[in-house]
């Protein structure tokens, strides 16, 4: 710092000649990254914005024809697309609720004197580090109606987890809960361990019941961090593709990302799918905004 001040005051000094200026270094360090992200994330989106107003199909050589807002009109009026949105909403609610209950529950259990706590926490963390595609694949084996260990363990006989259209979405959500509850647990644990001990001691002196202590001390103090976990998981569940795509091919589990994939790369409706991608994009940006707001809130504490 001091040097840069000297350099500015006296451009001919040794300090000014030595090395690059702070400004140059800052630009050298930051600009490549920003450029890279713009070229490979923003530019493609602008590129597809153009296509979203056309009837372009990447599978043919026919030139793209400008169709104005037709793609958007079509998509927003298409009942099948709305069904995909409903399915996704249902999936997000089931899996995020499940994760919060299981994850927070596990955190409450672990927030005590448990022997080997570090090892147990690490082992519990294993599922969320795995590949979602591969997890989907081996849960297929676990869900198998005739020899899957889930039916065997729960004594469900030949229960059809994935072949029954009404159950398949729950099966996918259950796998997601298995995989991501540890994430909620991890964040909840951080929140729980940050609650000052003296609050509990004071509550005990006041003879507060455990329910009262939980709702008046624990929950409010953990809430912001739990909120981050919820928003983050909502966003990720909204984007789910890999696991659901591999686990089930039922129309009842056709999440938005799967519909988008099929539209773009199996039906080759490039123009229409670009428009669809934009609709999804706007929703994601809205959720991201919320997420960052909460992240900054927690950071400030």
């Amino acid at each position: 710092m001091a040097l840069s001040v000297i350099a500015r005051l006296d451009p001919g000094s040794r300090a000014a000649k030595r090395g690059m200026s702070d400004l140059a270094i800052r630009n050298l360090f930051i600009i490549p990254t920003i450029t890279f992200l713009i070229v490979f994330n923003i530019f493609p989106l602008l590129y597809s914005l153009g296509y979203s107003f056309t009837d372009f199909r990447a599978s043919t050589n026919a030139p793209a024809k400008f169709v104005g807002l037709d793609n958007y009109k079509f998509l927003l009026n298409d009942e099948f697309i709305w069904r995909n949105f409903t399915i996704t909403a249902k999936y997000v609610i089931i899996s995020v609720t499940g994760q919060v209950i299981v994850g927070f529950g596990m955190a409450m259990l672990l927030n005590r004197d448990i022997p080997l706590k570090g090892l147990i926490t690490t082992l519990l963390m294993l599922p969320m580090m795995l590949s979602m595609a591969v997890v989907g694949l081996f849960w297929k084996l676990l869900y198998d109606p005739s020899f899957g260990i889930i039916n065997y363990g729960l004594g469900l006989g030949k229960f059809e987890w994935l072949a029954d259209p009404d159950v398949a979405l729950y099966a996918v959500a259950l796998t997601d809960i298995w995989m991501w509850s540890p994430f909620v647990m991890l964040l909840s644990l951080a929140g729980l361990s940050a609650v000052p001990k003296h609050l509990y001691e004071a509550a005990e002196i006041d003879r507060a019941g455990s329910f009262y202590t939980f709702t008046r001390i624990t929950l409010p103090l953990v809430a912001p961090i739990l909120m981050i976990a919820i928003i983050f998981r909502t966003m990720e569940a909204f984007k789910t593709f890999d696991m659901a795509y591999i686990l089930s091919s039922q129309p009842t589990t056709e999440l938005i990302a799967i519909r988008l994939y099929k539209m773009a790369f199996l039906e080759w409706q490039t123009g229409q799918s670009s428009a669809f991608a934009y609709i999804v994009l706007i929703m994601v940006v809205a959720i991201t905004n919320l997420y960052v707001k909460y992240l900054n809130k927690v950071k400030e504490r």
């Binding site: 930051i30 529950g105 259990l109 082992l123 294993l126 593709f241």
Partner: protein, 319 residues
């Protein structure tokens, strides 16, 4: 108060330990199951009741890396199992051997996909972490106009659903010939991980006291020297943690790999599920492929255990 433990507390603690054990059991059973299936003989993989005790064998791994496991025709299981693994055979209607090339073993596609995964994940991790560290330093130490907005912009690129980005990228890659190339996937994964690496590294660098560098500057170091000789060594733990996270993300990625590659540069995640194919899936082989694929991640999770929380929250929550 802390020393005295009422009966009630002891009871609750024991109940909690029991609860944790149950949770741990449920969470680990699927992982145990895929691991054990990878070492089972084929006829024990799909039994009822499930086989828990068995003599482990490596035949699933042999089948995984050789061509024979790739047979697509529905084959009667007895014929399949009776034949030695090194024989490449073509079956007719699942009952009779039509052609048998004794002693012919070909490599299956798995090894190549695994190597592809390694090349792409390692290269993209290296790029994302080095660029991310520099950028994080820039944001951490210098005044940047609209810093919060830039950081939000950087984060938002990570939040895009892969398929949304994949549609235009697919068209552009086809145009410039990057479709199904290693470089193509490396670029995509670098972009994907870069935002994460900037956010995480910024947290780590913010924690290094500025005084270290300022002392070095006073001693006659240039800013660059101070960065490379003072800041980088201090940030090494953070860099390692970030690298492992980026590696895992790139290693596990499925959607881009599915869309952008089909053979030459395909990574393992889209390849393993495609092996189920039609007919009778050999779950031991799939389990073996899965096991090998998950193994590096499991090891990394243990190495990373103290940084998991931080990585998962984009560096916002520290412990």
């Amino acid at each position: 108060m802390a020393g005295i433990r009422t009966r009630q507390e002891v009871f609750f603690n024991r109940a909690a330990i029991a609860g944790v054990m149950v949770a741990l059991f449920i969470m680990l059973v699927p992982i145990y199951w895929i691991t054990s299936t990878a070492f089972k003989p084929r006829n024990l993989a799909t039994t009822i009741p499930p086989t828990v005790i068995f003599t482990p064998e490596i035949s699933p791994f042999v089948k995984l890396f050789t061509k024979r496991s790739q047979l697509r025709d529905p084959v009667s299981q007895e014929i399949y199992d009776a034949a030695p693994w090194w024989e490449q055979m073509v079956f007719d209607g699942g009952q009779k051997v039509v052609r048998s090339n004794k002693g012919v073993v070909r490599r299956s596609g798995y090894g190549q996909r695994f190597v592809n995964s390694l090349i792409i994940a390692i290269t993209s991790t290296f790029l994302a972490v080095s660029m991310g560290t520099l950028t994080a330093y820039g944001f951490s130490r210098f005044k940047v106009k609209g810093e919060d907005d830039w950081m939000f912009f950087i984060l938002s690129t990570r939040m895009l659903p892969p398929v949304v980005v994949a549609i235009p990228m697919f068209l552009m890659y086809r145009l410039v010939g990057l479709h199904d190339t290693h470089i193509g996937l490396i670029i995509l994964y670098t972009a994907f991980n870069l935002s994460f690496s900037v956010w995480l590294m910024k947290g780590f660098i913010d924690e290094i006291p500025r005084e270290y560098e300022e002392a070095a500057l006073v001693d006659g170091y240039t800013r660059m020297q101070a960065f490379f000789k003072i800041v980088l060594p201090e940030a090494m733990t953070g860099i390692a943690a970030t690298a492992v996270f980026c590696f895992i993300t790139a290693w596990n990625e499925y959607a881009f790999a599915l869309i952008m590659t089909n053979r030459r540069a395909q990574t393992a995640p889209p390849f393993i599920p495609s092996q189920i194919g039609s007919g009778l899936p050999d779950w031991t082989v799939i389990a073996a492929g899965t096991f090998l694929f998950l193994l590096p991640v499991a090891i990394f999770t243990f190495l990373l255990r103290n940084h998991l929380l931080r990585g998962m929250s984009f560096g916002a929550i520290r412990k």
